[in-house]
């Protein structure tokens, strides 16, 4: 599924709620690190609940969605778009958020917006007032790292990713990247709220969304079978 450039007006039209004047309510789910769920409306985080534990995504994702809806006092039917953090991230956990986001969008019959999880980390970083290039680095396990480089913010306050997301062995992130970027951000969590705000800015600016495809960046560990092993030695 490819979702290119959904105009905000289209997004609004898909699920406008009744009594409250809700414009554009995004539910964002990211399990590329821990599990983070947020509700964002018009650039404001209404609720964000996260669990840092990287081994319990499937257990906690439902309760976190419910907590967000409850604390923001929003009905599931009020949500107008779902943002899915597509990674990069260790695959077992990453899939949990992607499957949840897609299923929610099907149940609610609303648009699904796939996002690069690192973009949320960059947005959160720049939200603190920082400017200039950064490299976002996250743990890929097995002594490897996921990394993306950003040159800064554009006119729409969107982080400009100039490379990545990539996968590299620790200490093998290319030297020229490290030389160019004064900041390396070793992020241990991805804020679903920051990811939703990034998506909202992209929709407003008319920037294209990526493909709905998990960013595993690593092939499954399998070897092709070489025929049966002998049992008689």
């Amino acid at each position: 599924m490819i979702l290119l450039n959904p105009a905000p007006s289209q997004l609004r039209a898909t699920g406008l709620a009744g009594a409250r004047s809700l414009d554009f309510v995004i539910l964002a789910i990211d399990t590329s690190a821990g599990t983070s769920v947020a509700l964002v409306e018009n650039g404001r985080i209404l609720a964000e609940h996260s669990v840092i534990d990287t081994m319990r995504h499937a257990e906690v994702v439902g309760a976190l969605i419910l907590e967000c809806l409850t604390s923001a006092d929003i009905l599931a039917t009020d949500v107008t778009a779902v943002v899915a953090g597509m990674g990069p991230g260790p695959f077992t956990g990453l899939r949990v958020g992607i499957a949840a986001a897609e299923a929610f969008s099907v149940g609610a019959n609303i648009t699904l917006l796939p996002m690069v999880s690192h973009d949320g980390i960059a947005t959160a970083h720049y939200a603190g007032g920082a400017r200039g290039p950064i490299t976002v680095v996250t743990d890929a396990r097995r002594r490897e790292l996921y990394w993306s480089t950003y040159s800064g913010l554009n006119a729409h306050e969107l982080p400009q990713r100039i490379s990545g997301p990539n996968l590299a062995k620790q200490a093998e992130v290319p030297a020229e990247v490290l030389g160019l970027t004064p900041f390396i951000l070793e992020a241990t969590e991805v804020s679903a709220g920051a990811l939703a705000i990034t998506a909202e800015r992209m929709a407003t600016a008319g920037e294209p969304f990526g493909t709905f495809r998990a960013l595993y960046l690593r092939s499954p560990d399998v070897t092709l079978s070489k025929g049966p092993k002998r049992v008689v030695q």
Partner: protein
């Protein structure tokens, strides 16, 4: 937002079931005991080049297949998702990473629709599939023999929704795995079952006496209802290698037929023994290996000889599917069960005694 916990329809609930415990993404929809849709998307072709199910490949395929399968099932059933009374999902046993995809999707779907969610046991689901067949309600108690590439289990079912006991299971390979491994020895591709079946039709089941695992008196004391197929596989491989090394031609038909006979014999001998020991005159078959012609045939013979009534659900309900998960949840709802909470996870070793995780 408070969660839907009460169920409006306990007479004939409309339930969507999600099954992702192995390599089939199954979405089924039932209304009470009536099957409305049974969509299965298999990643089997992707596993063929590896000679068996690769968990990571299966889990990736589930993510790609799950919502298209939901849409297709809804269309086939001619319903809207908002019509559902409940969502059901397999929470175990199975491959952990694969199960998690279904669990996450089911939770989010249930919340988006504000519908109750039922987390149910895959193996008990295989038994539950039977209620969707033509033969009317399941009679109790019944012995259930569940045989697939992932499991080989013998159950005593006193009540589908409240009392299921594990009598025995494989202590090494599942029966379906043995078919795959022997197929490889004979130079046949994965999955092995259909190829062994075809070859076996050209040979004699009594040509070679392959061992029946855990059937010796000493084994029967400790493992009366357990199965073992790894010794059988090794025995077949040895038999073939010795003759290949000697430059002899391998009677593939005889090897396949004799191997298949050993599997069918041990499965059904133990199942009939359980019927007799527990004085239960009913046997239910489930799991993909039921597709095997000889296993069905021998089940018919042995059951007739023992005065046991045999039930075999239609094949599309025997292999892993979402309809059986929906059917089990519908039975639970009709029996008054409460929905599951939101905190359950995937339990790859969920015991059959846990029919539903609350």
């Amino acid at each position: 937002m408070s969660r839907a916990t009460h169920i409006l329809n306990r007479e004939a609930p409309l339930v969507l079931g999600i099954e992702t415990s192995c390599d089939e993404t199954g979405i089924g929809i039932v209304r009470g005991r009536k099957l409305l849709a049974n969509v299965i998307s298999s990643s089997m072709d992707e596993h063929a080049r590896y000679g068996g199910v690769v968990p990571e490949v299966a889990a990736r395929a589930h993510v790609e297949a799950i919502t298209p399968a939901i849409r297709q099932a809804v269309a086939e059933a001619g319903i809207r998702l908002s019509d559902l009374d409940a969502v059901a999902v397999t929470c175990g046993p199975g491959l952990a990473g694969a199960l998690m995809v279904g669990v996450a999707a089911a939770k989010a779907l249930a919340i988006s629709l504000d519908k109750p969610l039922f987390a149910v046991n895959h193996l008990v689901g295989h038994v539950g599939a039977d209620v969707l067949g033509e033969e009317g309600p399941l009679e109790y108690p019944t012995i259930a023999l569940l045989v697939s590439g992932g499991h080989t289990s013998l159950l005593l079912v006193r009540d589908l929704v409240s009392d299921v006991e594990l009598l025995g299971e494989t202590i090494d390979d599942a029966a379906g795995e043995a078919f795959d491994k022997v197929a490889r020895v004979l130079g046949m591709p994965y999955p092995g079952g259909p190829h062994i079946d075809r070859l076996a039709a050209t040979g004699s089941p009594t040509a070679i006496r392959f061992p029946r695992g855990l059937s010796q008196p000493k084994d029967m004391a400790a493992h009366r209802y357990d199965f073992s197929f790894s010794g059988l596989k090794t025995s077949v491989a040895r038999w073939v290698e010795i003759r290949r090394d000697a430059g002899e031609e391998i009677p593939l038909g005889d090897v396949a037929a004799s191997f298949r006979e050993a599997v069918a014999d041990v499965l059904l001998t133990k199942a009939i023994a359980a019927c007799s020991d527990f004085n239960v005159p009913r046997l239910l078959l489930g799991g993909g290996v039921v597709a095997n012609a000889r296993i069905r045939e021998l089940a018919g013979q042995k059951c007739a000889d023992a005065g046991v009534t045999l039930r075999v659900p239609p094949l599309a309900l025997c292999t892993d599917n979402g309809a059986m998960i929906a059917a089990l949840a519908a039975e639970l709802i009709m029996a008054g069960a409460q929905p599951s909470g939101m905190d359950f996870g995937a339990d790859s070793t969920l015991p059959v005694t846990t029919i539903q995780i609350l």
